[in-house]
Amino acid sequence: MTAQRRSAGLAIFSLLLSAAAVAAPPDFDRDIRPILSEHCYACHGPDADSRKVDLRLDLEQGLRSAIDSDASGASLLLHRITSEDANDRMPPPDTGRALAATEIEMVRAWIASGAAWAPHWSLQPIGPRPSVLRPSIEGGDGINVIDDTIRVRLTAEGFPSAPPETPHRLLRRLHLDLTGLPPSPSMLDADLALLADNPHHYERVVDRLLESPAYGERMAWDWMDIARYSDTNGFQLDATRTMWPWRDWVVDAFNSNLPYDEFTVWQLAGDLIPNASETQRLATGFLRNHMINGEGGRIAEENRVEYVFDQLETVGTTWLGLTLNCCRCHDHKFDPVSHREYFAFFDFFNQTPVDGTGGNPQTPPVLVIRSDQERSELERVAAELERIRKVAVAAEANGLPVREIDPAARVAALAAFNTIPLDRTPEQIEAVIAALTEPEGNHATALRAIEPLQRSRRSIEARAPKVMIMADRPERRETRILDGGNYRKPGKAVTADVPASLPPLPDGAPPNRLTLARWLVDPGNPLMARVTVNREWRKFFGRGLVETVEDLGTQGERPSHPHLLDWLAWVFVEDRWDLKSLHRRIVTSATYRQSSDHRGELADADPENRLLGRGPRRRMPAWMIRDHALACSGLLVDTRGGPPVKPYQPAGIWSETTFGTIVYERDQDDDAHRRSLYTFWRRIVGPPVFFDNADRRNCAVRTTMTNTPLHALTTLNDTTFVEAARVMAARIMKDGGDQDADRVDFAFKLAASRIPTDAEREILLTRLDVLRKQYHQRPGAAAELLSVGDAAPAENLDANDQAAFTGICTLILNLDEVLTR
C-alpha cells in the first residue's frame, strides 16, 4: 500500500468516526459492540461450543458482569484488555485479535460514561420512535428527509453540497435506473424543453417511467440474481427447466406495483394462502429456483437437505439480511442465532414432497402453465372427443354391425370392440373399422378422428411449461438438528420457529411457511423493511446505506446514515410497502439529482462517496450495457415475456464445457435482439456477455463491479456490439441529416443523451475522415464489417461510408461516459 493510499483510507475512516469522536460519549451499539464482536465474540459470544468460561459478552447481563467495578474501581473488562501480563491479557495474544489503542480508549470512555447498553441497531424496533415519526432535522429545510439528512451530515463534516446535475445527464441516469434503457433523442429533447420551463416536469418524467413496462423488466433483473434464477438445473447434466412463467410473473408484479409484503408472502407461501390463486402458487417458484443435482452417485437425502439449506438461506439473506448459513454447522459466532434455531427455521421449508432423487428439471410439485389459446384449444379437443364418444357409443349400442371378414380380423375387431371407444389404440380402431359394414360411414369417420385429436392434446400438454412450485406434504416431516450440517448426523428434533432474538410468531399460528411469511412482513419485524430499503437504495446509488446489503448483523457494516435508513424503512411500511413510491422518493431527492462530478477536497476525503456529496456515477451492469447498445442501434425488440431466447454467443462456449454434449444453437432475427432479461441462462456456463454478474447458483444481493480488459474486449468485439454499431451507423446516416457533423451529433445523442462539445466533435470528424480513407484503401474490408450479425444490410448507403461510421459508433458505444449511468 502506498502512502497516498494509506492516507486516503485513513481519511475516510476518521471521517466516519469523527461525528462520534467529537460530539458525544461512545454509543454502545455504534462504537462498542463492533469492537466486542470483532475481538471477543469468537470465544465469548453466541456460539455455545466455542464459548470459554461461560461468559457471554453479546448479552447485556454477561457484559454487565464483566464491567462491574471491583473495590479499586477498576472494571474486569478494562483490566483484561489492558493487562501487561500475557496470561491475563484478552484477547489472548496468540489469537491475533488484539484491540487497537483507540479501541481500548473507546471502551474506557464508554465505561466512564456509565456503560449504557442497547440491542444491535438492526434488531431495535424501527418505530414508532419520535425521531422517525417527526423527522425534523436540525439544519435541514424540512422539505425532504433524504436531502436534509445527507446535507446536515455533509455540512457537519465541512463539505458543501453539490450543484444539481446537468439536465441531460440526470434524465439519462433516471431512464437507465428506472427502465434500463436510454431516453430516445426525441423524447429527450421534449423533456429538456419542458424542464427548462418547469422544474416539476421532472416528476412527470419519473411517473411516466414508473408506468413504463420496461420498469418491471429492469427491476426484475436484480430479483433474478437474488432468486438464483436460471433456465437449467446446474451440475453435470444441467437439464433445462421451464421456470420462465415465474420470471414473467415477477416482471408483472413490479409493473403492477404489487405491494412488497404481498410480493413476499406470495413467493414464500402463496400455495398456503386459503383458496390460493394460480398466480399465488406460481409465485412460490421463487423457492424452487435452487440448483438440482442429478449427478450419478449422489445421495438423495444429501441433495434434499442441500435444497432446503439453500431455500432458507436465500430467505435469510433476502428478507432478514442475516447470514444464516453461518449456523448451518454451529451456533453463529457473532449474531444471536443458534445452530438449533437454524434448524427450527429449516423446518418451515422441510415439508415439501421433494425427496432429492434424480435430476428432473420439473420435479413435482409443478404448476402447468397454459396460454389462453392453448386452453381453448384443449377445450375444443375435449368437446370434439366427447362428440365422437357419443357417436360411437350410439352406433355400438346394440353390438358391432359386422360384415363378413376373415376369422382372424373378426376376432381382433371383437377384442377391440370390448375397449371403450376413446381408449382404443390406433390398431384397435383400425380393427374395428375393418369390420364395419360402412367403412366410410359416420361411425368410421368419428373413430378415425380420435387419434389425431389425442395427438394434438398430447402435444399441447407437452409444450406447456411446468413451473416447480411449493406445496407441503400432508404429514409433517420431522426436522432434526444436523450436526455439522451433515445429513448423516441427525440430532434432536425441532419444530418450526423463528430466532428468539427476533419478535415471536403469533400465538397459536400454525408452524408453516405462511405464518413465517406473515411474520416477516409484520411491521414489528425490525429487519425486513430495513433490509429492503437498503437494497433498493443500492440500486440507485451503487452502495447501500449499509454497505453490506447481505448482512445487517453485528459483523455487517453500520449504516452511514442510520436515521435515514430507519426513516425510509418506516415510511415504506406506512406506505403499504409501495415500491414505486419508494423509488419515486429516492429519484426525486436532490441527493439523487446532484452532480456526479468529483469535487475538491471531498473527492479525496470520500472517494467511495459514503457521505453522498455527489450524485451516483458508476458503470452500467453488463446486461444493461447490452440493452443500451441494442436500443441505440434501434435493434432492440421489445416483445415481453415467454420462453428464454439465445442471442449471439461465441462459438463453442457450451460444448467446450460439456464435452460437446450440449451445443448452443442460437436464435435468429428478433430473438437475437430481445432484452437481456430474456436471455437463456445456463447455470454451469452463464452467458459470457454478462460479465461481473451474479452466477445464479446462490442468492446474490451484492456483486462487485470490476474494470478489466476482458470487458473492453467484449464491448469492442462481441458480435452483439459490432452489429449494434453497424446498424446504429446506418440509423444515423438515414435519420441524422446529411452532414457528417449532424450525424455524429445524432450518434452522440443516442448513446450519451447529449450533443458533443466542439472539441469532441472535432476528434470524431477527423477520425471519420481517416476511417473513410482507410476503408477506401482496403477493398472488401467494409463489406466484411457490414456483414457481422443477422441484421439485414442497409440499402442505398455507401459501404465504405457506413463502415467508417460503424467505427465511430463503436468508439462512442465504448466511451466511459456511455458505459456509465
Binding site: Q4, P650, L710
Partner: protein, 490 residues
Amino acid sequence: MTIPDPIGEHARGITRRTFLGQGSAGVGAAALASMLGLPAASPASGLLGDPVRRSGAHHAPKAKRVIYLFMNGGPTHVDLFDYKPNLARFHGQPIPESYLASKRFSTMTGDPSGKLLLAPMETFRRHGESGAWASALMPHTGAIADELCFLKGMHTEQVNHAPAVTFFLTGSEFPGRPTMGSWLSYGLGSENENLPTFCAMTSVSKGTTCGQIFYEHYWGNGFLPSHHQGVRFRGGGDPVLHLSNPDGVPPEIRRGILDDLARLNHLQLEEHADPEIATRITQYEMAYKMQTSVPELTDLSDEPEHVLALYGPQVRERGTFAYNCLMARRLAERGVRFSQVMHAGWDQHRSLTNELYTQCTDTDQPSAGLVIDLKQRGMLEDTLVVWGGEFGRTPFSQGDFADRPQWGRDHHPYAFTIWMAGGGVKPGITHGASDDLGMDAVEGRVHVHDLQATMLHLLGVDHRRLTHRHQGRDFRLTDVHGKIVPEILL
C-alpha cells in the same frame, strides 16, 4: 482510494473498515499514477487490474508460480503409483470387512460389503535412484521419478466429482468460494503486465465416456472481485474470448479508434475527475496489449523440435492436454502465476481395461515433458508443478467381475496419490502410505487443506493470514484447517 491488500492490511492490523468497498475503485491508484505520468518506478498495474506486487508475500517464497495438472475424475491410485501386491494376490476375493468400517461410498457402490478385490491393470516397477514405484501405464512419469515427490497418504471428505473438485480448488465443497488461483491473484497480485495472473485450460481424451463437466466455478473468484477470476484459455476459436477484432477491422483501424477513445475519455476525466475513467483508459489500452501478446503466446514457431518432442505427438493439436502443458510453460515464462491445466476422463467405473490406457497415453508424456522442459530451462526450482485428481478409486471392483472389458473402480476418498515437482519440494521422495490394499491412508496422511496450506507456504503465503472479509467473517482457502507438510519441503 483503497486497493485490496489483505496481507498488508493484516500486517498493520488496520481494521476492515478501511478497505471495505474496494469494488470498482480497486484499480484506480495505479492507473491514475500512469495517467499523471509518474515515473516508471511507481506501481505498475497488472493486466487484470491489480497492481504488480512482487513483495506481497508473508515470507520468502520458494515457488513463484504454480502449474496445477488437475486430473479430473479421480485417477486410480492403485493402478498408477500406489503399488499393492496384495491386490494381485487376493484378486477376486471379497474385501475383508475390517477395511470397510463406517466408510461411505457413492450410491453406485452403496454397500461395499463383499465387493471383490481387483488386481492392478499393469505391472509396476521401481524407477531411478529414489526407487519410486510406477505402473507400466506411466512410463514417462516413472522415468522422471527422481524429480518427483509422491504423496501417497492423500485423503479427502468428498465422494462425488463436483463437490470433491470444488473442495480441492476452493477448500469448500460448495460452489461460491474463491479458487486457489484467485486467492493467489488477490494475495500476491500480478507478475506481468499483459497477461492474466490466473489462467485455466481444459482438455479431455477423445472417446471418453465420462460425463464430468468443467464448471466455471473451478476457476471462479467466489466472493473476491471478479478480476481475480481465472481466464480460460480456450481449445478452439479465440484463445481468450473476443480477442480477435471483428471482420473488417484491421489492427491499424482499431488502433486509431482506441487512440481517439482515450482522447475523448481524457476530456471526460478532466470534467468529471472520476478516477474510474482513468482506470477505464488503462484497461482499454491493456486490452489492446493483450490482443498482441496472446497471439505471440500461442505462436509455437519459436519452439525447437526437440522441445516439442518432450510433450509427445499431440503437442501441436490445440485443445489437447499436451498442447495445454506446453502453453502452461509458455505462460509461466511470461509471468503468469497460476496455470490450472485440467484434464477430464479419469472416471473409470467400467473402463479400466480400455479408457484408462488412453487416458495415460494422453497425459503421461506431456506431464513428464513439462517437468523436463522446466528443468532444462532452470525454471523448475521456482515453479511448483502438481499432478493429481479429486480422489482415488476403490481397490475393489465395480461392475461385472466376470466381464473383463467392463472392469472398473468406484470413487475412493480415503487414500490416493498425487505428485509434486519443483518449487521448493524435495525431489525423489515418497511421503505417506496407504494400507496393504490401498484402502486407507495410514502414514503421512495429508488432507486437502494440508496440501493447500503447503502450496501457499511454498508461494510465500501463510494460509492462516491470507483472508478476505465476506458476510461478516474472515474467509480463507483452508477454512479453519490446514497443516503444512514439513517433510516434503526442501
